[in-house]
C-alpha cells in the first residue's frame, strides 16, 4: 500500500511544468495502474475544491484522496515550502480559509509565515510536512522547531525527505519523516509510484494515518525498516484447531472472552520461541510473590564473613577449642635436685648443665619476618620477569633498572636472613645441648634431673597465643556490616522500594527476633551463648579461671556448630522506602514484579494479564510507556489482556482476538489502524476492531472515549 503526500494536479505558478496539469479521467486511469492507495493533492498556494471532489469521487473505490496545499513560507528571511494536509472532514473550512488568504494574491506572489499558517489551519486537524534538508527550498531546524512549538500535536509535523534513503535516515534518528512524488509529469507517474513509500500497515482513513503517526516515528516502511510479521503455526488444542498467527516485533495483544484459550496460546508461543532458541518465559501475574522473589526469609541466602572483608577466624576458633593448659615446673623437682649431693666428678665438671636455656622464639620470629620479606621480593622479581605486557608498556630500560634495585634488596635480605638463621640455629643447638646433658647426667648418675626451666615461658606463651586468638576473634565480631540495599521498583509518589539485607555478627547482645542465622546448620542459641562466652574470655586470660571458662564455652549445647565467624552471622531482610521499613501491598507487589519483568532486557516478552491487581493509573502511566518503548526498539511483546488501557493505549500493530460460539473457537487478526479483525476460516465475517474491543475489554468505552477523536468514536 503506497502513499503519496505530495502531488500537483495543476500548474499554479509560472515555474510549474505544464505536465502537472491532469484531468480527472486521466488521473483515474493512472492511479488505477499503481499501488497508491492514499494521495494528497498539494498544489502550490492553491486549492481547487471542485477538482478535489471530482477526483475523490472518481477514485473512491481504489484510492483515498486528501486535500492539501503546498505553501510558500518565509521564515527568518528564508523561503521554504510547507505542505498542509487537513483532515478531509474539514475540507470545506479549509477551502474557505485558503480562499480568504489568497484574496488579492496569486500563487506566484503569495507568501505566509509559520505563525500565520498554524493559526489559519491548525483547527482543521492537519498534518504539516516541511521540506527538509535535501528537499529544497527547505525549512531549517529552527523553523521546524518553531512549527512544533505552535501546533497542538507535534506528532503531526513531518519532515519531507527527497527520497526513501533520506527518509530512512531521518526516521532512524527519531524524526517523523515521509516523502512524496512532487510529480512533475503525470505520464511518468506509474513508474515514479513504484518508489513511493509503503505504509507499515493498511490505513483506511486520515484518522488512522494520524494514529499510526502517534504510534511511532517509523510510520512508513523504509529500507532501514526491520519491523515485519513472523507467521506462527501453532498446534495448541490439537489438529482440529491449528492456529495461524502473525507475530510482529511490536506489541501483539491477545484478547477475547474468558475460556477461549488465550493463556494456552501464550504458552504455546513461548514454547515455539524457546524451541527455536529464543529463551523466554510467560510472566503470569499473581503467580509470584514479591517476598518470595526477593527471598525475604533467606531460604537461598548465604554469606561468608569474608564477603564483608571480615576474617572468618576459623583457625583461631579451632585452636581455642583444642588449647590445653601448659604446666609449670614443679618446685619439688628443684628441691629433689638440690637435695642430693653431686658426687659424680665428671658431672660436677660439666658446667653446661648449669646454663640457662636461651630464648629461641624471638630469633625465630625475626628470622620468619626477614625470610617472608625475602620471599615476597623474589616473587615480585619473578612477576616482573614473566610479565611481557609490563615490559612492553613500561619499557625494557625501566624494567632493567627496577630489577637491579630489587635484586640488590633481595640480596641484602638473603644475607640478613642467613645471619638470622645462623643465630636461631645456634640458640636451638645450645638449648638442645643443655637438655641432652641434663637428661644424660641424670640417667648416668641416677641423680634427679636438673630443672632447666621454671615453665613460665611456655605457660606465658600459651596464654599470649590465646590472647592473640581472642583479640582477632573479638575484633571480627565487633565489626559492623553495612546493610546491602537492592533496588526493587518504583512505587510512584511513595518512592523507590528497596530490599534491604541487614547482616550482623552475633556479639552476645543481639536479641532481635527478626534476625536469623545466615548458616542453615546453626541455631540462634549457641550463636548467642558462644559469642557471649568469647566476649568474656579476655577477662580471664591472665587468671587461673581461663581454662574453666574455655571448658564452659565448649560445653554450650551445639557450640561445635560455631566454627567460624560466618557461623555467627545473622541476617534480617525486609523492604524499605527511604530507609524506612515498608511492607508493600499485594497491588504494589504486582506493580513491582511486572515492572521488573518489563525492565529485563529480552527479545520476547510474554505477559499474561498484566492488569491483575494493578490500578489504571499505573498501567497507563508506567506500564504502557514501557511497552511502547520496547515496541519501538523492535522487541516482541505478546500480551494476554482484558484491559483496554493496554489493548488500546499501546496501539498494537497486532490484535489477536479469540472468540467462540456453538460451532467452535475462532482466531481473528487485525489492528487499530485497519479497524478490522479478520478470521482465516472461510465464512467468518470480518469484525470491527473498535466495536469488539469496546465490547470485550474492561474499560473499553473509557479508553475509546478518551481517544474518541482519533478513533472516530463519537
Amino acid at each position: 500500500m503506497k502513499i503519496d503526500i505530495h502531488t500537483h494536479t495543476k500548474k499554479c505558478k509560472q515555474g510549474d511544468a505544464e505536465s502537472r496539469n491532469i484531468s480527472t479521467e486521466k488521473f483515474d486511469e493512472i492511479i488505477r495502474l499503481t499501488d497508491v492507495k492514499i494521495l494528497a493533492i498539494t498544489n502550490h498556494n492553491h486549492f481547487d475544491l471542485q477538482q478535489y471532489q471530482e477526483i475523490k469521487t472518481k477514485v473512491h473505490d481504489t484510492c483515498q484522496i486528501w486535500p492539501g496545499i503546498e505553501l510558500d513560507i518565509m521564515e527568518n528571511g528564508l523561503k521554504a515550502h510547507l505542505i498542509v494536509i487537513p483532515n478531509p472532514k474539514n475540507v470545506n473550512e479549509f477551502n474557505d480559509k485558503v480562499a480568504e488568504l489568497l484574496i488579492d494574491k496569486t500563487p506566484d506572489n503569495f507568501i505566509i509565515s509559520i505563525d500565520e499558517t498554524v493559526s489559519s489551519f491548525d483547527d482543521f486537524d492537519p498534518i504539516y510536512i516541511a521540506h527538509y534538508f535535501g528537499k529544497t527550498p527547505n525549512l531549517l531546524d529552527e523553523g521546524v522547531a518553531r512549527l512544533i512549538d505552535l501546533v497542538k500535536n507535534e506528532t503531526r509535523v513531518l519532515k519531507e525527505a527527497s527520497n526513501a534513503i533520506s527518509a530512512g535516515i531521518f526516521i532512524s534518528h527519531g524524526h517523523n519523516s515521509i516523502y512524496g512524488s512532487d510529480v512533475q509529469n503525470w505520464d511518468e507517474y506509474q513508474e515514479i509510484s513504484k518508489y513511493l513509500p509503503d505504509l507499515r500497515l493498511p490505513v483506511e482513513s486520515f484518522e488512522q494515518f494520524c494514529l499510526l503517526l502517534e504510534k511511532d516515528n517509523a510510520t512508513i516502511n523504509t529500507i532501514l525498516d526491520k519491523k515485519t510479521p513472523e507467521p506462527l503455526h501453532l498446534n495448541v488444542f490439537g489438529v482440529a484447531e491449528l492456529i495461524d498467527l502473525d507475530i510482529y516485533n511490536d506489541i501483539n495483544v491477545l484478547f477475547g472472552s474468558k475460556g477461549t484459550g488465550k493463556t494456552e496460546i501464550l504458552r504455546s508461543i513461548s514454547k515455539y520461541y524457546n524451541d527455536i532458541g529464543f529463551e523466554n518465559k510467560v510472566y503470569e501475574s499473581n503467580a509470584l510473590k514479591l517476598e518470595v522473589v526477593y527471598d525475604l526469609k533467606g531460604r537461598n541466602y548465604d554469606a561468608e564473613s569474608s564477603t564483608f572483608e571480615i576474617d572468618n577466624c576459623y583457625a583461631e576458633l579451632s585452636r581455642l577449642r583444642s588449647v590445653t593448659e601448659k604446666n609449670v615446673t614443679s618446685l619439688s623437682a628443684y628441691l629433689r635436685y638440690f637435695s642430693v649431693d653431686e658426687t659424680n666428678r665428671i658431672s660436677r665438671d660439666l658446667k653446661i648443665k648449669n646454663y640457662t636455656k636461651e630464648d629461641s622464639t624471638s630469633p625465630e620470629r625475626d628470622f620468619d619476618e626477614i625470610r617472608g620479606l625475602y620471599d615476597r621480593f623474589e616473587q615480585f622479581i619473578d612477576f616482573i620477569g614473566s610479565d611481557q605486557i609490563l615490559t612492553d608498556v613500561v619499557g625494557e630500560e625501566l624494567i632493567t633498572e627496577l630489577n637491579g634495585v630489587l635484586k640488590k634488596i633481595s640480596l641484602k635480605l638473603k644475607s640478613v636472613s642467613k645471619e638470622k638463621f645462623r643465630d636461631l640455629k645456634s640458640i636451638s643447638l645450645f638449648n638442645q645441648i643443655i637438655t641432652v646433658f641434663v637428661e644424660e647426667i641424670a640417667r648416668k648418675t641416677g641423680q634427679p634431673q636438673k630443672p632447666i626451666s621454671t615453665g613460665f615461658k611456655e605457660y606465658a606463651s600459651n596464654r599470649i597465643k590465646i590472647e592473640r586468638d581472642l583479640n582477632k576473634i573479638n575484633e571480627s565480631i565487633s565489626q559492623r556490616i553495612e546493610p546491602s540495599i537492592d533496588y526493587v521498583g518504583d512505587l510512584g509518589d511513595k518512592g523507590h522500594l528497596d530490599c534491604q539485607t541487614n547482616v550482623k555478627i552475633q556479639n552476645g547482645f543481639i536479641g532481635d527476633t527478626n534476625y536469623q542465622p545466615v548458616k542453615k546448620n546453626v541455631t540462634k542459641t549457641p550463636q548467642k551463648s558462644v559469642a557471649s562466652a568469647l566476649r568474656t574470655l579476655p577477662n580471664h586470660i591472665y587468671a587461673n579461671s581461663l581454662f574453666e571458662k574455655i571448658n564452659e564455652l565448649k560445653q554450650i549445647d551445639n557450640s561445635d556448630t560455631i566454627t567460624s565467624i560466618s557461623d555467627l552471622l545473622l541476617f534480617y531482610r525486609h523492604f524499605t522506602i527511604d530507609n524506612e521499613q515498608y511492607t508493600p501491598s499485594t497491588g504494589e507487589s504486582s506493580m513491582v514484579l511486572l515492572h521488573n519483568e518489563l525492565m529485563e532486557d529480552k527479545e520476547i516478552y510474554l505477559i499474561d494479564e498484566p492488569e491483575k491487581s494493578l490500578g489504571n493509573d499505573y498501567i497507563s502511566n508506567v506500564i504502557v510507556p514501557i511497552l511502547k518503548r520496547h515496541a519501538l526498539s523492535g522487541k516482541k511483546i505478546i500480551i494476554v489482556t482484558h484491559d483496554a488501557n493496554i489493548a488500546v493505549r499501546t496501539l498494537p500493530y497486532n490484535s489477536i482476538y479469540r472468540e467462540h460460539d456453538a460451532n467452535g473457537y475462532y482466531t481473528f487478526l487485525g489492528n487499530p489502524f485497519t479497524n478490522s479483525l479478520k478470521c482465516k476460516i472461510e465464512g467468518k465475517e470480518d469484525l470491527d476492531w473498535k466495536e469488539i474491543s469496546m465490547k470485550t475489554l474492561e474499560g473499553g468505552r473509557d479508553a475509546f472515549g478518551e481517544r474518541g477523536k482519533i478513533y472516530g468514536n463519537t
Partner: protein, 110 residues
C-alpha cells in the same frame, strides 16, 4: 642476653627467701607494694600459675627482672634453689617481654 634497649628500660625488683618453721618461700617484690610468693617446700602449681599470671600482667607494663637478696646470707638448699629458679625466671621474663612486644600486646602507658 638483654639488648641494650631492653637493659635501658629494664627494672630490677628484689627477690628474697622467707624461711619460716613450717615453710620456706621465694618472695618476689614486684613493686607497687605487690608481693608474690612461691612456696618452695610444697608443690602448689595453681599458686605458681597465679604468680605467673601476675608476672605476665606486670610484664605488659614494662620489662623487669629479679635480683635475689638473701638477708639470712645462708647458702643453704633454698638459696641454691632460688638462685637457679630466679636465674631461669629472669631469662624467661625477658623472652616473654619480647614476645609481648613483638605481638604489640604491651600496655601503652609510656
Amino acid at each position: 642476653m638483654p639488648s641494650e634497649k631492653e637493659e635501658k628500660y629494664m627494672e630490677t625488683h628484689k627477690a628474697t627467701i622467707n624461711r619460716l618453721e613450717d615453710k620456706t618461700s621465694l618472695i618476689l617484690n614486684i613493686g607497687e607494694g605487690e608481693v608474690l610468693e612461691i612456696e618452695l617446700t610444697e608443690d602448689k602449681p595453681n599458686e605458681v600459675k597465679r604468680v605467673f599470671n601476675k608476672l605476665i600482667s606486670f610484664l605488659k607494663k614494662g620489662s623487669f627482672e629479679f635480683e635475689l637478696e638473701d638477708e639470712d646470707e645462708k647458702e643453704d638448699l633454698y638459696f641454691h634453689i632460688c638462685t637457679d629458679y630466679v636465674g631461669q625466671l629472669n631469662a624467661e621474663l625477658l623472652s616473654i617481654y619480647q614476645e609481648l612486644e613483638d605481638y604489640q600486646l604491651l600496655e601503652k602507658n609510656e
